[in-house]
Subunit: 520 residues, 2 copies
Amino acid sequence: MSEVLENYVRGRWQAGKAPLADLHDPTTGEVIARASTGGIDMKGALDWARDVGGKALRAMTFAQRAEMLLAASKAIHAHRDALLEVGIRNGGNTRKDAKFDVDGAIGTLAAYADWGKKLGDTDAMLDGEGIQLGRTPRLWGQHVLLPRHGVAVHVNAFNFPAWGLAEKAACAWLAGMPVVSKPATATAMLAERVVRVLVDAKVLPEGALSLLCGSAGDLLDHMTAQDVLAFTGSADTGYLLRSKERLLRRSVRVNVEADSLNSAVLGPDVEPGTETWNLFLRDVVTDMTQKAGQKCTAIRRVLVPAARLADVEADLKERLTALKIGHPGQEGVGMGPLSTASQLRDAKAGVTKLLAESTIVFGTLDEPALVGATPGAGWFLSPVLLRTKDASAAKTVHEHEVFGPVSTLLPWDGTPAAAADLVRKGEGSLVASVFSDDRDFVRQMIVAIGPWHGRLYLGSEHMAGQSPGPGTVLPGTIHGGPGRAGGGEELGAFRGLALYQQRVALEGDRAAIEKMFPPK
Amino acid sequence: MSEVLENYVRGRWQAGKAPLADLHDPTTGEVIARASTGGIDMKGALDWARDVGGKALRAMTFAQRAEMLLAASKAIHAHRDALLEVGIRNGGNTRKDAKFDVDGAIGTLAAYADWGKKLGDTDAMLDGEGIQLGRTPRLWGQHVLLPRHGVAVHVNAFNFPAWGLAEKAACAWLAGMPVVSKPATATAMLAERVVRVLVDAKVLPEGALSLLCGSAGDLLDHMTAQDVLAFTGSADTGYLLRSKERLLRRSVRVNVEADSLNSAVLGPDVEPGTETWNLFLRDVVTDMTQKAGQKCTAIRRVLVPAARLADVEADLKERLTALKIGHPGQEGVGMGPLSTASQLRDAKAGVTKLLAESTIVFGTLDEPALVGATPGAGWFLSPVLLRTKDASAAKTVHEHEVFGPVSTLLPWDGTPAAAADLVRKGEGSLVASVFSDDRDFVRQMIVAIGPWHGRLYLGSEHMAGQSPGPGTVLPGTIHGGPGRAGGGEELGAFRGLALYQQRVALEGDRAAIEKMFPPK
């Protein structure tokens, strides 16, 4: 009998009614748990979060919420080993991949605890300095940021069940909003364990966190004007959520972080064998193989000066050949399976789609040789490196993201203008990376492609050994991107709180305003 | 023959094809102009703005764009008298009302010119300070704000044809985006004149401004991922625009500023006859009568401690009785007609709706006595002051905005908690005002109702003579509000540029980033 994951609603663990969805071990294909939200009162869940959790969090100062975040971070850290095992088992993560997720959760909560501490013992955050509004200095304007009086509904993606829950919750909680978290059902086991850890550790006030392990059901039909919906996942699901009349009519805030075709650009100044060259190779290979390429920030399009193409291909092939694929819990295995059967199906179909305009440089759609795993049982795909002949004429490579260990080389003429034209064909991405030690080239690229991205990673010789690479989302910089990437924004230190706050301009007598909301 | 208003598209004045819509003088009901966008190539208009205007504006520094804004402000000022006449004639504005609109345009452009000058000779705006991202200070994060590579489409409301065009354009232009402006057709004559002034003065680079005097046609069907739509008007139209699949699928940024039921709260500490009392009366009467109450920021719900209700009623009646209604161009007339026949129809129907839960304290739905205007010809309504018996049980007064000289008194028990409950029934407003000299009461109100508003106006004895009142939108504070008010945000000094910028996190070597984007 497989375990039934419970939902945590109105302060109680509750199993959902049949039918239950299956959760698998993607290495073996076995069913390891089941989950459902059948029979859960979604309206009641939201009302309770708003009434009990919202009031409790708003009664706390930023310093108190920061302590709460730190305690949550520590509680998760205390159960790190057990959580890593769940990531390996339900996510198909290697131990390193699982750490990426779980340590990301621990680290992001701790980072927001630090920032919250800086805000101190106050319930209101000032937004910028005050401003004189009239002819005399008496008529004063001061913007303040106040927590919204609703609930934050977090709909997360399957690939980061721990980090996805924690990075969104850290921002909402520090801002003063309660959270109802809905992980993707297929990998919800890790999210469920994280919530159990937090509930058992009693580090959160009642109502601050609820969990729905199955379908969202009619959850969104009960959202109201002060609520916030933050979604990470596919563009199609993002569209379905944000197009709901109820949300649009009530101006419910919706943040979408969706698919994107992230680019890496190798500058024409970078010579083979240099530090910048090797950093570029490392980052491309990391993004192809980490989490089996199932990262929304992963490099999908690799722009290489035509003259360097053969060298890049040879070096990438060498590195990819050395990779061991198989049981993610086994020592030495560098890449596990995709997380679900449908991910594998979609990835293979996606590569087939790309093949209309590209050829395979490395890899195959057949199951790769496996270390420590039974052939034919799990959902394995080898890294697939493609090359497009005419990057400018190609369409699919700029429009269709294959969410797996798949990347495409795009030869180009080495000019910033042509690189920018190619990058922009993606219609907006989470991140792009530019590998170059030529500052003129880099600045031109920043200005030309910046508006199509939420983040630009600048790889240079000085970055070797300093950076985890473009695929890693750090809490200090924003995460999100325009257009195809969903148009949203998360994290970025205090910027991440804005989604959960209402900016209010106070207009009145300067002395009175400064007495009530003292400037720093 | 009435004048045909032309559209300014692709750098040429072009009349639209039949059928043409009529524009009226609301004082007499006469047709004074006609307009249409029939036959205008909307896709071509947007492409041209993006390609020609966007490139030109992005090639300018902030200091250069600031000079441009100042020149635009001066050009409008040079034609002020002629523009005021158009406001009187096509808008039914008194001279004072017309100044409110035209001087608002002049002042907002000048204010943004000042702010732009402060940004200096650079094409990139830093967003906050840099931040250390890694264990060593070398891995650095710096957020920058870059102009989006699209076009800003501005769909404006009928009540502020000059200010609405200018306040939106000031922010877009300073950020570096070209504008296609679509005023409400009924009062488009003033917007058309403003654009003619700007075009003739040659103060803008080619492509920076286009104008559509008639229907938007299929304009929105050609918007792309880097474009921005900013709309001011009714909640229903706002919903229609923002629910378009094309906009949602491409994450086109949409800002909505819609109807709201703005409140004024008279604190229980305020004694009749005091400065704060008189300020409260002045602001309620101003908001009822200025622009004939056709202001999205106007006070619609007036919360009065039950014990003060009789005094407030008596004092408001006295002030409203003194008001002269009639030809808006005539000296001594305090209020003109509503701007259109449908506004008058809707306002009367709205009052009838409110009467189910309220009684009339002052005014009537019959045409008032007119000064200098022919009875039965124009679209006049007297100020209508209502009173609701049970403010907490009432629904319509909190949900249905009557967009005319109409306001309702709501008696309440004087406690902040009960006031907050009433105010929040509006489900989000642009502005609320609190009149009180009791700072504890005021701070409690700010925290309780702040998240439901974009701005809180704090009326106190120190404000008398200092402030234009809650109904006036100042460029230094944000304009917009959550929920019913549309969830948008405009103006607020530099905050107003954000809609037209992409925030991009740069991640890389500190020295390189600081060289390319020097910190202040």
